[in-house]
Structures are given as C-alpha cells and as structure tokens.
Amino acid sequence: MKDKILSAKDVQKTFANNGEQVHVLTNVNMDIFEGDFTVIMGSSGSGKSTLLYALSGMDKATAGQVIYKSVDSGEIDITTQKEKKMADIRTKDFGFIFQQMHLVSNLTLMENVSVTGFLDKRKSSADTKKKASELLDRMGLNEVKNNLPSRVSGGEQQRCAIARAVINSPRILFADEPTGALNRKNTREVLDLLTELNQNGQSIVMVTHDIKAALRGNRLLYLEDGDIVGELELSNYGEKDKEGNKLQSTKAREAQVNAWLESLDW
C-alpha cells in the first residue's frame, strides 16, 4: 500500500475574464502517492497546468482543499497556509520545473541551482555547492555550469531547471510540460533524467499532452473541463522482472495508453 502524500478535495479554480467568470477547475478530487510518477493529461485548455499550480501551492484554489502530508507538521491544507510557510514548503518539500525553464537570467547555471540550495537552512553552504556541482555534473552540464542561461541551449536550460528543482531533495517534484519547448533529442534527455529520478524514489507529478512523455508515468490521470475523468495504472517505466526482461515493452505501453486515451475521446 503506497503512502498518500498529497490530496485534492473538491478543488475549484475560477478566473474572472472581462467581468465573466471562467471555471477552469470545477471539482477536482485526486490523490498523489509517494514514489509515483503521476502524469496529468488533457486537451489544451482543460486546466492541467492550473491544477498543477493549485496542487503545488504556486497558486491558490478558489475553493476546496489541498492536503499535504508533511513530515514535520503532519497534514496541512496548503490553500490556507501563510505566505511564509508556503515559501518554506516550496524550498524544502516541493520542486518545480516550468515549461519555459524560467532560470534567473543574470545568474549562472551553477548559481541558479545553488541559490535555491542556499534557501534550505538544513544544509551548509559547502554542502549545497557540492551537491549543486554533482547534480549539474549528473545532468551533463559540468562544462557549461558557469555560463548564463542565455548562453546555453534549451535542453541544457531545462536540465539545469531540473537540477534546481531537486537540489533540496523535495518530496514531490512538479513538472509543467517540461519538454514542451524542447527538440526531440533534448526531450528524450530530460525524460530520461526524470525517469531516473523516479526510479531512485522521487515522487513526480507531471503535466503533459505528449504521449511519449506520458509513457514515463506509472499513473495517468485525464482532465477534461476542469475535472478528473479517467485514470490509468501502469507498471513503472522500464521495470524489469527477475530475469532482467522488461515487464512491458514501450510499444505495448504506448498501445495501452493510446487505447485509454481513445476511450476518453482524446
């Protein structure tokens, strides 16, 4: 039985648009489990990113609760937390990867990663720098780590953003279309990195509309008109049996996901 670490209860999100109310999330109920690679899919404008921001506390839900099972404070509703507490959660418990990378433009890749690490008071400055260096090395960015974001490719920027998101070993890593702005080669590299992180126990919640990316997840949720309308459980990506054979080939996995999506009129 997996541990539930995040739950959405009757989450609603409404925006005002020229005096009219637009209900992006109508009534979302869902759980996120520890160690899962959860993928949220849906058509364009279905509210995927809005849901992700509501779950991660980047934005506040209009109504409902988002319960996070914190190690230190037990269950807390992040929709009611004060700004300072949320900043603390973002530093230690949640990591976030944006579609547009969003690296701080006048900091080098190394600094982008280490500044986030510096916010975590549990680690010393030296430990943070060491870990940032290791992470960037692992992401294949050792040679460009002292470059400014504008001097590296989109894939390198996104890998740096992943390093930044995991520098404080968050309990949940949120990713909003992390490959949306990348070419095929970079997409594969980024997805491999996320898969590797998940295989090492990192809980991930990713929003995507790319089936190739969705295949990396072990739990797929489908969002339509602001509500979860479908769920698909898969084996872990690349999981092997005792003999070392893949439990499910990529093709078979793709077919299963396609079929599921077709059943949802995608």
Binding site: R90, Q100, S105, L119
Partner: protein, 810 residues
C-alpha cells in the same frame, strides 16, 4: 491620433514612473515659485512701506547737539538734497518686556500720521487701506482710533517676536535718570529699522509723554557723557540730481557734508531693504540653488529612464517600426508624454506654491515686519514653464535618438537580452548574506540600470554631508570665534555711568576662581571708510579671540582690519591706506588684515581702542577700557562661571549687568537669526533630499520591477518569501546608497567648503575652516543608507502582487 493612442498607453502602463516625474516637477516648481513669490512680495512691500511713510531715502541719527545748524545748512544747500526733515528724539536703553531684554538703543519719536498701524488680525492696517497698484491709501477715520494716549507706545512689528508680546502688554524703557513703563497700543510698519534683524529701533510715543520726557532729560543733561540720551533723527529727501542708489547718494553726500561721519547711525533705504530682506534672499539663494540641482537630477533620471524604457520596449519598438511608425513619430511620443507629465507637475506646483508662499511670507513677516503683498508670480511661472519645457524637450529629443539606430527586425528579434546582460562583473553569491550578495549581483550584472540613481544619490549625499559639515561648524566654539562671535562664558556691562566698579575689579574676582583664556571687550560704533558708512568694532585686546584670517590683527593705533565684504565693496586690500571719518575728524589708517564678523552681516571694520581714540576731536584724551559697551571672557574652567557671577552681583548689585552663558543660549539677535536661517536651510535640504531620494528609489524600482517581474516570479517559485525578496531589493538600494556615499563624501571633501563659503559670505562669513571629522561624514551616510534601505523596502511592496502564477502558461 496614433501618436496620442501610444502616448495614452505609455502613461497608463508606466503610471508609477510618470507620477514620480510629476512629483519631481512639482517639487521643483513649488520651491522656485514659492521663493520667488516670497522674495518679490517682500521687496515690493518694503518699497511700498517706504512710499507710504514718505520719509526720504535716508535716516541719520545724531547725539544731542551734534546736528549743528552748520550741518543743517550744508545739507539744505546741497544740490543732491531736495529737503530734510529734522526730528528731536529721546533715546531709551535696556528695554524689558515679558521677561525679555534688549540692550540696543531705542529711538523714541512722536508718532506721525504717515506711519501705518497694524490691525488686530495683522493682515492690514487701522489707518491705511489697499489702494490701486499695490499702494496704501490713508483711511478717512477718526484720529482717536489710532492716536496714542498718555502711557501708550507703538513699537515696530519686528519687536513682536523678540519680546513675544501683544497689544496691551507692558514695556519698560530706561531713560537718562529715570525708567518708564508703557502699554503697547499696537505695532507699526516702520521700514527703516523695524525689521527684527536690525538692533536699533524707532518707537513712537504720545505727544504728551514725549514732551514730558524730552524736557526732563534735557534739564538733566550735565556732562558730555549724557549726550547719548537725546538727539535728532534727520530724514533726507534726494533731489533729482542725487544718485538713484541711496547708498551711493550717502557716500557722495558724506564726502561733501560729513552727514555720515557726524551721525551716530545712518540707515539708507537700500541698506534697510538689504537687512530686512536678507534672510529671505539667503534662503531663496539656497533653495533656488537646490531647485536647480533638482532640475539637473530630474533630467538625469528622465534621460536614463528614456534609455531603459526603450531597452525594455525593444520588441515593441520593432513592432511599431514594422507597422510603419517613423523615427520622428516615435520620438514625438516620448517627447509628448514627458512634456504632458511635466505640464501636469507645473500646474500642480503652481497651485501648491500659492499656499506655500502665503505660509512662508507669514513666517518671514515676523522678521521683515513689513506686511507682505500677495501677488502671485504668474510671469515667473510662465517663464519657468517655458524654460523647463525647452530644457526637457531638447534633452529628451537628444536621448530618444537611440530610436533611429535600430531596424524593426533587429529590435523584434533581440528583445531584452541586449540590455539585460551588459556586464560581465560577477559578484559572488553566498549562503551567508544571501540577500546582500544577490542584491549586489543584481547591481553588478546590470549597472546601467542604476546609473541615474547612483548619480542622484551621490549629489544628495554631497548635499546632506555639506549641511552636516555646516551644522557641525556653526556649533563649534572655534568656529564661533572665527566668525567673530566667540562663545563667552561671562558677559558684563555697565548699568550706569557712575558705577563703582572697573573692568580690572571684575577681572580680579574672576582670577580668584579661574584663569581667563580670552577677552572680548568691545564697542560698536559707526564710522565712514572712504565715505562709506560701516560698523566699527572697537576692541581692547584685538589679539585675543581674534577672527582675523588674512594678514595680521590690529597691532598699532593706525591699523585697521576689514571684512572681505568691505574689501570688495570699497575695492581695498591689505596694505592700502584708507580714510576713516567720525564726527568732524578724518584720519588715515593702514589695512593690516581681513577679519570676519556677523555684525551688520559683515559690513564692518575693526580698530583698537587707541585706534578709535585717533578719531576723537581731542585725540590726547584717549578712550580707556572702561568706556567700552560690552565685556566678555572665556574662562579656563567654565564650570565656575555661575559662582563668579553670583560673587560679582553680591558685591556690585544693580551697578552691573552680568550673566554667565551656557552653550545653548549664547547668541544675540543676529546669531539667533543666523542660526534660524541656517537651520531652516538644513532642514529644507534634508526634507527635499529624502523626498527626492524616495521618489527616485520608487521610480527606479518601478522600472526594475517591470524588467524583473519574471525573475521575481521564479524566486517565489523556488521558495523565496515576499519579505525575503523585498529585503533583497532593500539591500540593493542600500548598496547603491553606500557606493554613492563614497563618491558623495569625496565630492563633499573637495567642494563643500567652497559651496558653504559662498552661502555664508552672505552672512559675513566668507571664510570657513570646516572640521572634516569622520563623524561629520559617517552620520549623514548612515542616515542616508538606512533611509535607502527603508525606501527600497517600502517601494518594493509591489512584489506582493507577483506570485509564482506569473509563470503559468496555460
């Protein structure tokens, strides 16, 4: 139409910045127009006051029997003189009212009809009303409404502040052989000596009181020493042949008649105007100088703002060009938006300057004692508008020239990267002091963005350090001595001419308690130097507590020292021979040095006691030390001053005026006013500096905020709290404050002295030895830096509005 659409959009999008510019313009316009209004109205009201009393252009006072028929004849026959008006006067001394004392001489005259009496509300006169062209016209009212009755007195409005008195209060004046108490009936507008800055005053008595006093005193005049108690006041009216300048008229007239040499005191219309308006003119010079500095700051910020605005809007600029906007049209947009904002600032400034002018005029009214006019400086307002428009227009046109240097494609494709990374400076970022190091990085990675605030801050630091240096200077004992106003631990003077004590007796008592570090025994008289009327400070020990800073102090009886003001006015220098005149005697003296004094705002000379004796009709009868007007000593141990005073009082009782001074209450009237003006300038500059600093910080933040909005969102997403981001901004501005402080301090070390000497020369202090101590620099720097930290924090409250949601792309 398309230009107006863009202008409206620009103003809407950057309203924070434009509001800032509007406020800066308003501050500039309010400062200049207020001071111009005050100054114009003050000068016009002094002119009106002279026209109203119709007492010529010169007032000369003479001791009893000094105004001889011979002099009268000379004056009446002189072609420069139209006619003269001779009045008897009674001289009062030791004036006391409401526990305040004034040691100056008071000339008592009979009240005359052309003297306006202030009404109860002090916004007009009982016996005069406003006429056409800002004139005052005599009212057709019963004389009993303002005519003095027995026991009543009219005093100039300038005495009101000095004595903190009102109509109905009692005022006591000592006359020769008797003291009289009068009831203040009201206050009059007397333009010659009514201002609070002028020590000697003319006061007005009822005919009955006057005649009684005159007869009594006259019958009691026994010796030449009693001649001070009566005299004449002569008003001199110029003919058409006289010089238009009353000062030059006096100089020429004195050469031909000795009108000045024989007089105790002469006040020309020009001199009265100079003294009456001196503080207004000094403060106006300081404030207008500062306003010009503010205009320069305004232009620096505007120019920089346009550059960065273009950089931020690089893509939009490209789009506009691609759509077909010409360079001229785009530049017009910049020009119009700034001029519109400036116009709004000017209008608001103009409106605000009206109550400010009224308020300031009311404050200065206590000093000038002349009811200010209420003319609004419309012409000046128009001129300022035209000048500001022209300067800003040219400036913006030049700065917007960058528009022509880019093509549409270049602008669209390059976007912000071009401007964002303009520096390769990499200040390190550390976990310890993360806010500070991140703030420093923001500055080093985009220094161009902070150039304007840096220049502005440097100028402001320079101003603040300068006023701090000024404040420290005027509060130090050495500075007071160098300004010719030494701080004296004990001051004493004769109460009457037949006192039983001598200066030597007092010195002996003092020496029993402590040593005397310096003596300032002096008298103030008026003499002519090459025909010009100046104050003469006669000193018994010129070498002690000397304020001579060039050449040497007076050593022989044929030497004098002069102020720089007199040197410039008379075009004389050290080593020159000059003619001093007093009474019927004229003697030659050699200028031995340049000294400083605030007496008569620096229009003064100084001689030794023997030097003054040479101007006696019988120079063999030299003045002795006991004939001086005031005595003061600096003690080695000032803590015994009170003890000494008590002993002297016990011994000599009412025969002596003696007091000990503590550091806070040393100044006489002139220095009080001097301190007031210096303090007013100091606080004005501090206040304007901080308003300007805040507006500039807010404007720079506003721009930075637009540029860094995404970064702020990212920071919030990775766990920075709002408070932490705001602290980072605050740190950034504090760092700018610190860097500016270094440059401001260097500037100040180089130029503050010269600037302050320029301002202080108006008070008669053209030479200052500033004390450049560490504390005089560090205090304003700390205040300024802390304020920048606070301003940065306050201005960055907008950060609250940016959440990680900024980064959402649905």
């Amino acid at each position: 139409m398309e230009i107006w659409t863009l202008v409206k959009a620009e103003i809407r999008n950057r309203k924070g910045v434009f509001i800032g510019f509007g406020i800066l313009t308003t501050l500039i316009v309010v400062s200049i127009l207020t001071m111009l209004g005050v100054s114009n109205n003050c000068n016009a009201s002094i002119d009106r006051a002279f026209e109203t009393i119709d007492k010529g252009v010169m007032l000369a006072s003479y001791g009893y029997d000094k105004f001889s028929p011979e002099l009268e004849k000379k004056l009446e026959e002189n072609e420069m003189v139209d006619h003269i008006d001779i009045n008897d006067m009674v001289v009062g001394i030791n004036v006391k009212c409401n526990d305040y004392e004034d040691g100056n001489g008071y000339y008592c005259l009979k009240y005359f009809d052309s003297l306006p009496v202030y009404n109860k509300e002090e916004n007009g006169f009982i016996n005069f009303r406003e006429g056409k062209n800002n004139t005052l016209v005599k009212k057709e009212i019963d004389k009993s409404d303002y005519e003095l009755k027995k026991g009543e007195i009219y005093i100039p409005y300038g005495c009101k502040n000095e004595f903190k008195c009102k109509a109905g209060d009692k005022i006591k004046i000592d006359f020769h052989m008797e003291s009289r108490e009068f009831t203040i009936r009201g206050f009059v507008q007397e333009p010659y000596m009514g201002s609070s800055i002028i020590g000697i005053k003319t006061v007005f008595l009822s005919d009955e009181d006057y005649d009684y006093l005159y007869d009594c005193i006259k019958s009691n005049i026994k010796t030449e020493d009693d001649y001070w108690s009566l005299g004449n006041i002569v008003y001199i009216y110029p003919s058409e042949k006289a010089d238009k300048s009353s000062d030059k008229f006096l100089r020429k007239l004195n050469l031909e008649t000795k009108v000045n040499d024989i007089a105790e005191n002469v006040m020309t219309r020009e001199t009265a105007q100079h003294y009456t308006g001196i503080f207004i003119n000094i403060i106006m010079a300081v404030i207008i100088g500062f306003a010009i500095l503010l205009t320069a700051i305004f232009l620096i910020v505007a120019g920089h703002n346009i550059s960065t605005e273009m950089e931020i809007d690089y893509t939009n600029l490209g789009i506009l060009k691609a759509e077909g906007f010409t360079n001229t049209a785009i530049r017009k947009v910049y020009l119009i938006e700034y001029l519109l904002v400036q116009l709004a600032g000017i209008i608001v400034g103009f409106i605000l300057s009206i109550p400010c002018e009224r308020w300031l005029s009311k404050i200065f009214f206590g000093m000038t004692a002349v009811l200010p006019l209420k003319k609004i400086p419309v012409l000046e307002g128009i001129m300022i508008t035209v000048i500001l428009f022209a300067v800003t227009g040219i400036y913006i046109f030049i700065f917007s020239g960058k528009v022509t240097k880019t093509t549409p494609v270049k602008a669209i494709t390059k976007g912000k990267n071009d401007y964002y990374f303009i520096s390769r400076l990499n200040a390190p970022i550390t976990k310890k002091g993360l806010g500070f190091t991140l703030g420093l990085r923001q500055i080093t990675s985009a220094p161009k963005r902070y150039i304007s605030i840096f220049i502005v801050s440097t100028i402001l630091i320079y101003m603040v350090v300068s006023v701090e240096l000024m404040s420290n200077y005027i509060e130090s004992r050495n500075a007071l001595t160098s300004m010719g106003e030494p701080f004296l631990d004990i001051e004493f003077s004769y109460q009457n001419s037949d006192a039983s004590w001598s200066v030597e007796d007092i010195e002996n008592i003092i020496k029993k308690h402590t040593e005397i570090d310096g003596r300032c025994y002096k008298s103030h008289n008026y003499v002519s130097i090459n025909g010009e009327n100046v104050m003469c400070v006669t000193k018994a020990y010129p070498e002690e507590l000397s304020s001579t800073y060039k050449g040497h102090e007076v050593r022989y009886d044929n030497e004098i020292v002069i102020t720089e003001q007199v040197a410039n006015l008379m075009d004389i220098k050290i080593g020159d021979t000059v003619k001093l005149g007093r009474g019927k005697v004229t003697e030659e003296y050699i200028v031995s040095g340049i000294f400083q004094t605030m007496n008569d705002t620096g229009k003064a000379i100084s001689v030794s006691l023997d030097g003054l004796s040479r101007l006696k009709e019988d120079p063999s009868k030299k003045y002795n030390i006991n004939q001086l007007g005031m005595y003061g000593v600096v003690l080695k141990d000032s803590s015994v001053a009170e003890e000494i005073v008590n002993e002297v009082k016990d011994k000599y009782g009412d025969e002596i005026n003696i007091q000990s001074n503590n550091y806070e209450k040393v100044m006489d009237n002139i220095t009080d006013s001097f301190y007031m003006a210096a303090d007013a300038s100091k606080y004005f500059i501090y206040i304007l500096t901080f308003i300007f600093a805040f507006v500039t910080v807010a404007m720079v933040f506003s721009k930075t905020f637009v540029q860094e909005r995404t970064d702020i969102g990212i920071n919030r997403a990775i766990g920075f709290s709002v408070g932490r981001i705001r602290r980072q901004f605050a740190m950034r501005f504090m760092i700018i404050g610190l860097i500016s402080a270094v440059f401001g301090m260097v500037l100040s070390r180089l130029y503050s002295g010269q600037m302050l000497e320029l301002v202080f020369s108006m008070f008669g202090v053209p030479h200052m030895e500033l004390d450049y101590t560490f504390i005089s620099f560090i205090r304003p720097v700390i205040i300024f830096t802390v304020f920048y930290l606070i301003f940065g924090f306050v201005a960055s409250r907008k950060v609250k509005k940016v959440s990680a949601r900024e980064l959402i792309k649905e």
